[in-house]
Assembly symmetry: C2
Homo-oligomer: 248 residues x 2
């Protein structure tokens, strides 16, 4: 198994890239100082498991950079990804000891962790944190429900288009580019991970990506670098009428 990387230099909340979106978004200077005392950074290599389902977790935290996945596995090995954790997303559940899912780093990953007990205590005393966490949890619930429609009712082609448009829009907002017209990005997931997210096999994922390429909906350079000439076209293929905004 891979070794955990130690972070070269711990940094300060004031220049934290996720300062304004994470669970600490609403905190004032005093509260940040308090958080600072219970926080620490951890880094993981791509492919490393952050927590195993069922294992005790003595921390909660935020993704600072990189991407992690939340997956559930059945005894016979069938797996379903139930969440994609992007920078600023929260990991762990206050008031619960074990993790309900496997959390795996898909890319190199940096997390800002809080020791669980002190964090829980602080949540009770600091409405700003509890409020922000509620808001984030409600957003995740909406995203999960949006995904239930994808899993339950969409065709393979629509599923792929849905995933690509989510990534494309997320990337556009992250880089403050307009979320329409031409979008270019790198796929952060392998075909297998995409299959696990979409409830498909990796062969079907591959075939449908080839089909979308053949039909000019996307262009591919290598296996991962994607160009979407017309985001509206892609979103049409996804079957949702413009709305969307799952991981907004």
């Amino acid at each position: 198994m891979l070794k955990e990387i130690s972070l070269p230099s711990p940094h300060d909340c004031s220049d934290c890239p996720i300062r304004h979106r994470a669970v600490c978004a609403r905190c004032d200077a005093d509260e940040l100082e308090h958080l600072d005392k219970i926080k620490y950074y951890r880094s993981f290599e791509a492919g490393q498991t952050v927590v195993w389902s069922g294992d005790p977790m003595d921390f909660v935290g935020s993704v600072v950079s990189g991407i992690a996945t939340l997956t559930q596995t059945m005894e016979d090995g069938r797996t379903q990804m139930v969440g994609l954790l992007l920078p600023s997303d929260f990991v762990g559940r206050p008031g619960r000891d074990g993790s309900a899912y496997d959390v795996v780093a898909t890319t190199d990953l940096v997390m800002c962790c809080f020791r669980k007990k002190p964090f829980e205590k602080m949540m009770l005393e600091t409405p700003h944190i509890a409020q922000r966490l509620l808001e984030m949890t409600l957003d995740e619930l909406d995203a999960a429900r949006e995904w239930m429609l994808v899993l339950g009712r969409k065709t393979a082609r629509e599923k792929i288009a849905s995933l690509l448009s989510i990534i494309a829009r997320r990337d556009a907002t992250l880089h403050l580019r307009p979320a329409q017209g031409k979008v270019v990005f790198d796929l952060p997931l392998t075909r297998e991970a995409m299959a696990d997210y979409l409830g498909l096999t990796l062969e079907t994922v591959s075939r449908q990506i080839s089909a979308l390429k053949r039909d000019g909906v996307i262009q591919l350079e290598g296996k991962r670098h994607v160009t979407v000439p017309d985001l509206d076209r892609l979103m049409d293929e996804a079957g949702d009428d413009s709305d969307g905004g799952v991981f907004a």
Copy 2:
């Protein structure tokens, strides 16, 4: 369209059947009194729509009795149920004007509604409410993710068994009976609603129910009255290893 029924007699929080499970579970007497001022009851007939997706909602609230569903619909009519609302479950999202889903009463339904604006104000001032809502939202998120595994990876037979065992366990806990051995209950959903929940067609639902009956996993009296001779057997068929507890 059906008419809304007016409730014969509004009742008091102290003898409310969902007092200890709903969003108000942690409230003390003062807080309940405050809530009482902004609350009102509404009743709906089976089949009636409580809110349409996209429509403005000027209230949030709790299901007091009956069952409601949360569904999403695509332009071409494909629909996916994304939530099953049982007594004590919360409806609506503080801080959002419109409903993201259709909310439909599956049975006759009574709701305890709070005017939205005052409720939002009260949430900011009353940690007990925000804390309980966070807890409930986290539970719903877990349930939604559990359901993603069902939708994405389970076979039709496993899907049916999963739904039946959820209903059976919920019913058992609601009536304080042991959640194992023999369980008897009524299906609160039509075959079509089950299909919408499971991402199947109603024909497949019907066939798989017949198959489970033929195999002795369940017994049916009429279309809706179900006897599960051995809950463990049913849960085996659902494919999850004992754990479960989605709507616990």
